[in-house]
Symmetry: C2
DNA sequence: TAACATGGTTCGGTAGTTGAACCGGACCGT
DNA sequence: ACGGTCCGGTTCAACTACCGAACCATGTTA
C-alpha cells in the first residue's frame, strides 16, 4: 500500500480518491472493467502486469467497494465494477479525452455514443441531443485498431456498451 | 520513470495519459497548481513529499509541456500549468467529485461556481445556468476547512479562481 | 553583516515492483 | 478414467523507486 494516509491527505477529496485509485496499474484495471473484461487472466494478459500486483490491486478495490466478485460462466468467479466503481467513469473519460487530444492520431481515437439515442458524446461525456450526461452503463464505445492480433482490441472494434461483459 | 512504455500502452489514450500524470504525487502537484500554488517550497510544504521527487516530477511535467516555469515575484521563477496542463481539469474534477461523494462529509466538500455568472456547477463541472462547461480558468473554488493552521487551507476558505496565483 | 528562506542536490535505508517459477484445482478431449 | 491444459493465483530473489534527513549555494531580509 504505497500511498500513505498522511494528515495532509485527510481533508482533500482528490487525495482521498488517489489513495484508492492512484496506485500504479489500478486505473488500467478499472479501464478494462469498464470495457467489459472480467476475468483475472484476461486482465492479466491485456494489461501485462505481474500477477501478484493484480491480486493485490483487486483485493484493495474489493475492500473499498469499487470492485466485486460476481459468479461468471461455469461456476467461475469474475470481477466487476460496483455502482461506486462505475461512478469513476468521468475520471476515465477525462483521461481518455486528454490522451486522445495530445497523444493519439484522430483516426485512432475511440468514439463514444449515447446508447439511448445514438448521438456522439461531447468531450465532457455529455449527450448534445438529450442534454444529459449519461452514466457509463448507457455509453457505447467503439475503438478503432489497425493491424493488431490482440483479441481484446479486436473485440472493441465493434460498438460495445460499457460495463457489459466482453466475450471474445 | 516507473511507468514503462509497453507496447500495450501505445494505442490506449488512458494509458498514454497515465504515463504522464499517473506517477505517484503527480496529480497532487497538478491539483495544487490549479489551486494557485506556484512556488517550489509551497508545493513541497503543502504536499509533503521528498524534494528529490518534486524536482523529478516537475522536470517530467515541463518536458511534457504540462507545466512551465514563469517569472514570479522578485526575479524568482515559479511553476504554472500550461494550456495543455489546464485541460486536465475534468480529470481533477472527476476525482474530486468521486472523493467528495464517498469520503468527505457534505459540509467539508469544496464548492465550485462559474466565475462568469456565479451559478454553482453540477457534478460534471457544467454550469446549469449558462449551459456550458467552463474551462478551469473560469471556475471559482471555495474549500471549507475547520480548525486548521495550514495557511494553504485557510487561503482557500475564501472563493478563489482556479489557476490564479494564490498569495498567502 | 548576520540570519534566514529558497530551491534545490546527495545519500543511505526501506518499501514497492518485477519477472520467473511454481502449484492445486477445474475443465476438456479421448 | 486419464493426461493435458487452462485458470487463478502464490512465492521468491533481484531490482528500482521512494523516503527522510542532511547538506549547500544563492538570494533576501533585519
Amino acid at each position: 500500500m504505497p500511498l500513505g494516509t498522511d494528515y495532509v491527505r485527510q481533508n482533500c477529496a482528490i487525495a482521498r480518491s488517489l489513495e484508492i485509485v492512484g496506485e500504479r496499474w489500478t486505473l488500467l484495471i478499472i479501464r478494462d472493467l469498464f470495457y467489459g473484461l472480467r476475468r483475472y487472466s484476461d486482465l492479466r494478459k491485456h494489461i501485462g502486469l505481474p500477477p501478484a500486483v493484480l491480486t493485490d490491486r483487486l483485493a484493495r478495490l474489493i475492500e473499498e467497494d469499487v470492485v466485486e466478485r460476481v459468479p461468471g460462466r461455469g461456476a467461475r468467479e469474475e470481477y466487476a465494477l460496483t455502482t461506486k466503481g462505475a461512478k469513476l467513469w468521468p475520471v476515465l473519460n477525462g483521461l481518455s479525452q486528454w490522451g486522445n487530444e495530445h497523444y493519439v492520431e484522430p483516426e485512432s481515437r475511440s468514439r463514444l455514443t449515447h446508447a439511448v439515442c445514438g448521438a456522439q458524446l461531447d468531450e465532457v461525456g455529455g449527450c448534445p441531443q438529450c442534454g444529459v450526461t449519461p452514466a457509463a452503463a448507457d455509453v457505447e464505445i467503439q475503438k478503432p485498431s489497425f493491424g493488431t492480433a490482440d483479441p481484446y482490441a479486436q473485440a472493441l472494434r465493434t460498438p460495445h456498451r460499457l460495463l457489459e461483459p466482453l466475450r471474445l
